[in-house]
């Protein structure tokens, strides 16, 4: 590269991040963002960087990734329909399996319409950017997931954030929106960074008072929150007032893909106007087959749900007793966030846990609220009670070694 070229290097904006990363790795740390799982033994165990490791950061809440029925459905579809569709849902990319997974979603949520996207990210990106147009207002929680923010950025609507889970702040903004403007309130059931839930019952009542449509992202609640596993809105008795539920296949369902379910009478037009749905290839046949099988099994997963909650309560209580600072006072979901004093000690703790044989997510700004560094733990219904105890032992040893407890 010449000097002249380096002056206008488009990558120079990333220099501060490159330097921060180099400084972190110069301390001899294993790269927290470059872990390789050489072998996956089960939903809760893998060989990571050469070590037998308990997985506590995969969002594989219901452990469906290795379910025998799910695997069989995927193999059958791979054999009978091939490796991929090579096309858009609106051209040559809708197979029998895509219809079947949308039917499974309609049954799971008891809703009239279901639309499957290639990822959960694209579901938020597509629905939000398409339904909120110029002169409409999107009112959203400041801690919303990146896919929600990117959906706002892709569209032309006026974007108005409010303080996390602050009902008064949300109401003030709704009240000030000019009369006659379209309004979309975007909320999440579970916020994935701290694992806290939203007071959806109150928030949705306020949204409806101002005649807003409501979209709720239930990515981190499907399958185990609510009487039928439909999420936090169902748990709080307000699913009927939600206009659009966004979800994903990459957590409880155990594969990849995203969706929106709705009772809106005109919902089907989305298939023609939603660009992140139209201008991309549809999911492979094996993926939609595994998803459909998994979703139908999640409808009857009461025992697994109960065990997942027991795991969440045990881990939360155990970590609290050890003296760790946690994201929520009580467990509200299957995510337990352990708050680290800073990025350096967070990264050191992450590595110490990995050496103990435990994988958790290291989450750091800008993905985290309030510039926190977090070790995010997500439990699985397939974690045994013994594994949860083993995990607590690892946290104790690592926490003492790093000087956090």
């Amino acid at each position: 590269m010449t000097d002249a070229a380096s002056k206008t290097d488009l990558f120079s904006k990333f220099d501060p991040l490159i330097q921060q990363r180099e400084a972190l790795l110069a301390s001899g740390l294993e790269d927290p963002f470059n872990l390789v799982m050489e072998k996956v033994l089960s939903p809760t165990r893998a060989i990571c960087n050469g070590r037998d490791t308990i997985l506590l950061g995969t969002y594989n809440y219901m452990g469906m990734t290795f379910d025998p029925d799910v695997i069989r459905a995927g193999k059958d579809a791979l054999e009978n329909f091939g490796a991929g569709t090579t096309g858009s849902r609106v051209l040559n990319g809708t197979y029998q399996g895509h219809r079947e997974v949308e039917e499974a979603l309609k049954d799971f949520y008891a809703m009239d319409h279901a639309m499957v996207f290639s990822t959960g990210y694209q579901a938020n990106l597509g629905i939000i950017s398409t339904i909120a147009g110029k002169d409409d207002y999107i009112v959203l929680d400041i801690d919303s997931h990146a896919s929600i923010w990117d959906g706002c950025a892709l569209g032309n609507a006026q974007v108005v954030p409010f303080k996390h889970n602050d009902i008064d702040a949300m109401e003030k903004r709704l009240r000030r929106i000019p009369e006659g403007a379209g309004k979309l309130v975007v909320l999440e059931g579970v916020y994935s960074m701290l694992g806290d839930i939203a007071p959806l019952k109150k928030m949705i009542a306020v949204a409806k008072k101002y005649d807003a449509m409501v979209l709720v992202d239930e990515a981190h609640s499907m399958g185990f929150i609510g009487p039928n596993g439909r999420g936090v809105a169902e748990e709080q008795g307000v699913l009927d007032h939600v206009d659009f539920v966004i979800g994903t296949f990459s957590k409880s369902v155990g594969t990849v893909g995203g969706f929106c379910v709705s009772n809106h009478p005109k919902f089907e037009i989305m298939r023609l106007v939603c660009r992140p749905y139209v201008f991309t290839a549809s999911l492979p046949p094996s993926v939609v087959a595994t998803a459909a099988t998994s979703i139908r099994k999640l409808m009857t997963g009461a025992d697994k749900r109960a065990h997942l909650w027991e795991n969440s309560r045990t881990l939360h209580a155990g970590l609290k007793a050890l003296g760790f600072d946690l994201g929520t006072e009580a467990p509200q979901s299957a995510i337990i966030a352990v708050i680290m004093p800073d990025l350096e000690r967070g990264a050191a703790m992450w590595e110490a846990l990995l050496h103990e044989g435990l994988y958790v997510n290291l989450a750091r700004p800008p993905a985290t609220p309030a510039n926190m560094t977090l070790l995010r733990c997500s439990l699985c219904a397939e974690h045994s009670a013994d594994q949860v105890q083993a995990i607590l032992g690892m946290f104790e040893r690592a926490g003492k070694a790093v000087g956090i407890i």
């Binding site: 207002y137 409010f162 303080k163 003030k172 903004r173 000030r176 510039n371």
Partner: protein, 80 residues
């Protein structure tokens, strides 16, 4: 409300966010001079919205880089 009155009220609101005691002029920038991060921006914008009973959407915020632009934007929103 004229520009001077809007200016005076915003000066009152900015004080608790101006941790370094930077002298505020029309050309003072929020990101550069005042070093506001995204959380500070949210709280500061909320304080102004509550004071004037207006909405400053993120789309509008993107156009506001310095103090003078903020005062002008609030005057315009109050005038609309």
């Amino acid at each position: 409300m004229d520009r001077a009155q809007v200016d005076e009220r915003i000066r009152g609101l900015i004080a608790p966010f101006n941790k370094k005691g930077v002298t505020i002029a029309d050309a003072t920038t929020f990101a550069g001079d005042l070093e506001f991060d995204s959380l500070t921006v949210m709280d500061f914008v909320a304080a102004i919205e509550d004071e004037f009973d207006i909405i400053i959407s993120m789309n509008q915020q993107a156009e506001i880089e310095n103090y003078g632009q903020l005062v002008d934007a609030v005057c315009k929103l109050k005038g609309d």
